[in-house]
């Protein structure tokens, strides 16, 4: 091995060491150890630190990954071993040096938190595995040994005999699955789809009553974002208009519900259902008012205008000018929940049902629209507006229609949102909400309902469940986006175009000339 190669290999290790140091500076490692501890069954008190063995597990996992990753850059086996050894050693030395610095900081009693808010002396100690002076040495050991182990593991698992495993397992599973489905009575096989729906339906009905109000809260939130995601997907994914002010329509729904169904500021108690209807209508009206002037805009210009629109709505709601009308920055409280046949229908379980019904409605409408004449017109406009126009599609009307239908979903979700929280204020409708919804659509997979559901769970559900991650939400989000761009550039669950040709039975009428082409003669 010459010097150049040595430099190259150690650079790989250096990169991983620097990532580790960066993670430590924001105290990410403690959060991760906490999550590992939680997964392994030991709960950590809020604000407390996990036990030291979980930190060791985290470090070992990290360096295993490092070894695995670096080893895959070479072909030759012996070179792979040397390479991982050099890289892990470099990483270990660098992290160890960093550990020395941390240790001296602890010894001198400097309060690092003045500069790095997350880094407390306790978590620094924990990172040194509670070994004080020996900590850096231990870090060096952990990084070198498990890095090398990761490299060796990748060699073993990628050897031809082991490399076939995933395939064997896959075929094994699919063949047993086929055997299993083959053994089922024909009645079940024929109606498998409906049975699956039945099971899903039972789960949806039973679960909210069983798993406590916190889970219902999270489910409701995810459900609302699914409705919003589907609404935005009609605008962005189907008709191709990049709207960044979607929260404005959400605000329309929420504030209609709030103003019409709360004691203050107007004392109008119209009831939930009329207010819901007005909320949806108001969102549509806003969409028309915004849509008419913006139909001529495309791409970046459209994004900027809609972004501005979203902010204008929020700032108006917040302003002193309208504070008598809309409650100003304090928002509106005590919004009443729905009733059904005079009975209150607003505990957390019932609200979850209501939101799930909304989600089902949204999915239903979306599915019906996507593969219809209208949906195809939208897709054509998205692909090439000029060619769409020349095939006889009224571009402006269809774009406006998409905007209105998308906004209607936002209005629906907004009304649900306000009634469920019994409160809404300007801060519920910030630009971040619009961006979150757009992220759900993009991360999940445009035009793909399973993708949007998955996206809503990943981006709204997971952060709620993993409360430890709260401070690192943006970090994790950025990491997820990078991962997505590399591994799944079309979203977590990308959409497929329908395969129709084989499904359509050819017409029995004779001739291969199109339609009544000669009618014009």
């Amino acid at each position: 091995m010459n010097r150049q190669e040595f430099q190259k290999f150690s650079q790989h290790g250096l990169v991983f060491a620097i990532i580790m140091i960066f993670l430590v500076l924001v105290d990410f490692q403690t959060m991760f150890a906490t999550v590992i501890s939680k997964i392994l069954g030991t709960n950590v008190l809020r604000g407390g630190l996990p036990e030291v063995q979980y930190m060791v597990i985290f470090l070992v996992l990290y360096s295993l990954w490092m070894g695995w990753f670096i080893s895959r850059k070479e072909e030759n086996k012996s070179r792979r071993i040397i390479m991982t050894l050099v890289a892990s050693l470099t990483a270990g030395v660098v992290v160890g040096l960093f550990g020395l610095i941390l240790n001296s900081l602890i010894q001198s009693g400097t309060d690092v938190r003045r500069y790095l808010a997350a880094l407390s002396p306790e978590s620094m100690k924990l990172f040194l595995l509670n070994l004080d002076g020996l900590g850096p040495l231990a870090l060096l050991g952990v990084f070198t040994v498990s890095g090398l182990l990761g490299g060796v593991l990748s060699i073993i698992l990628q050897s031809p005999s082991v490399g076939k495993w995933p395939k064997t397992i896959k075929t094994g599973i699919s063949s047993t699955w086929q055997k299993f489905t083959g053994s089922l009575p024909p009645f079940i096989r024929k109606n498998a789809k409906y049975l699956a729906y039945l099971v899903l339906g039972i789960v949806i009905i039973v679960l909210p009553t069983r798993w406590g109000s916190y889970n219902n809260f999270v489910t409701g939130l995810v459900g609302l974002y699914i409705i919003l995601g589907i609404g935005l997907n009609i605008i962005v994914g189907l008709s191709g208009q990049l709207v960044l002010g979607f929260a404005a329509f959400f605000a329309m729904g929420a504030y209609s519900m709030a103003l019409l169904n709360a004691p203050l500021p107007h004392g109008l108690m119209w009831g939930f259902w009329p207010a819901l209807l007005v909320g949806v209508l108001m969102a549509v009206v806003a969409a028309i008012l915004l849509g008419l002037p913006m139909m001529r805009l495309r791409g970046d210009y459209l994004a900027i205008v809609t972004l501005g629109f979203g902010e204008i709505i929020r700032i108006l709601l917040k302003s002193d000018l309208l504070s008598d009308f809309s409650g100003g920055p304090r928002g509106i409280q005590d919004i009443k929940g729905p009733t059904i046949f005079g009975l209150p229908f607003n505990n957390d379980v019932q609200f979850t049902y209501l939101i799930i019904a909304g989600v089902i409605l949204a999915i239903f409408v979306y599915n019906r629209l996507e593969n219809s004449r209208t949906g195809r017109a939208w897709l054509a406009i998205k692909e090439d507006a000029i060619a769409a126009r020349a095939t006889g599609i009224n571009v402006q009307r269809n774009k406006l229609l998409a905007l209105c239908i998308g906004a209607a979903f936002a209005g629906l979700a907004g009304a649900f949102f306000a009634a469920r929280n019994q409160f809404t204020g300007p801060n519920d409708h910030t630009l971040m909400v619009s961006i979150n919804i757009l992220s759900i659509v993009i991360v999940g997979g445009m035009n793909s309902i399973p993708g949007i559901i998955l996206g809503a769970f990943t981006l709204k559900g997971l952060p709620e469940i993993l409360r430890e991650m709260e401070n690192y939400r943006l970090l994790v989000f950025g990491g997820l986006l990078v991962f997505m761009m590399i591994a799944r550039p079309e979203g977590l669950w990308p959409a497929k175009r329908p395969q129709l040709e084989k499904k359509i039975k050819p017409d029995t009428r004779d001739g291969d000339t199109p339609g009544k082409g000669d009618k014009n003669e």
Binding site: V365, R368, L369, S372, R373, T374, G375, R376, A377, L379, A380, E383, D384, I386, A387, A388, R389, A390, T391, G392, I393, N394, V395, L401, I405, R497, P498, Q499, L500, E501, K502, I504, P506, D507, D512, T513, P514, G515, K516, G517, D518, K519, N520, E521
Partner: protein, 274 residues
């Protein structure tokens, strides 16, 4: 004489100081193949864009079976019965071939979004018709089996075919083809030429063609117009246009006519000597 399908009457299109199309007159009879040729930048595509409604001409009229259409919106003109293809293919590239044709069928049907959501009888009937019609068109343009491929994955020649298929979907009476054989090899050009003839003979569609391949133009055109710098400099059948000195000059530059004659004489004498 057939009825006049398209009459272009003194049409001018001006971009700033540039007159791209200058007082052009055309009379295109029904069920003919009418070619428009000319050097690059002569205004052929601009004229197409005027007919299909992308541009509104500053002066003049465009009559479609006696009915004025200049200034109407593009989608209206398309649904009236004028379809077109493009110089650089403009398919809906992330949709399947079949979906492209189904989008072409858009103006034929009426069902709206409410029909789609409630699955009204009109929607169900039209949906079935759309699908069958699309399959039939797919077979007609010779792309059976390509229907489920995304348009951008299709080979170049097939994409051109698909574009014609999409243009045919709303049963046009007039089809504007902008360089349909550009970038094709001999064999593909041959089959496309045959196909264009078939459109005229079997479906009775009037075809207006922009083409640079002179073999294609001379082979299939019933009538040819030559544009140069936005003005029409010649009109006639293939032989007339070929021997027109103005046309030769437009292609070969001033003095071109004499040059061409010299070349032809040379060629003749070469043939004789062989």
């Amino acid at each position: 004489m057939n009825e006049i399908a398209i009459k272009v009457d003194q049409v001018s299109k001006i971009f700033g100081g540039l007159t791209a199309v200058n007082q052009v007159n055309l009379e295109i009879p029904q069920k003919t193949i009418y070619s428009i040729i000319g050097p690059n930048g002569a205004g052929k595509t601009t004229l197409f864009n005027c007919i299909s409604g992308f541009y509104v001409p500053e002066k003049g009229k465009i009559l479609y079976f006696g009915q004025e259409i200049q200034g109407l919106s593009t989608d209206l003109i398309a649904s009236v019965g004028i379809s077109r293809t493009y110089q650089n293919i403009r398919l809906f590239s992330n949709l399947t071939a079949l979906e492209n044709i189904m989008i072409g069928l858009h103006p034929k049907f009426r069902s709206n979004w409410v029909d789609a959501i409630v699955h009204s009888p009109r929607y169900l009937r039209e949906d079935k018709e759309t699908k069958q019609e699309a399959i039939r068109l797919l077979n007609f343009v010779g792309l059976a089996g390509y229907g489920d491929y995304l348009a951008f994955n299709l080979p170049y020649g097939v994409q051109r075919r698909l574009e014609i298929g999409r243009a045919l979907a709303n049963q046009p009476r007039i089809l504007l083809l902008d360089e349909p054989t550009a970038g094709m090899n001999m064999q593909e050009t041959q089959s496309t030429t045959e196909f264009i003839k078939k459109l005229r003979d079997d479906l009775g569609i009037t075809i207006i063609l922009i083409e640079h391949d002179m073999q294609v133009v001379m082979g299939i055109s019933d009538r040819i117009s030559v544009l140069d710098y936005g003005t029409k400099i010649a009109e006639g059948n293939a032989a007339e246009v070929q021997s027109n000195p103005k046309v030769i000059e437009a292609y070969l530059g001033p003095g071109g006519a004499a040059l061409a004659e010299k070349f032809q004489k040379q060629r003749r004498s070469n043939v004789k000597s062989h």
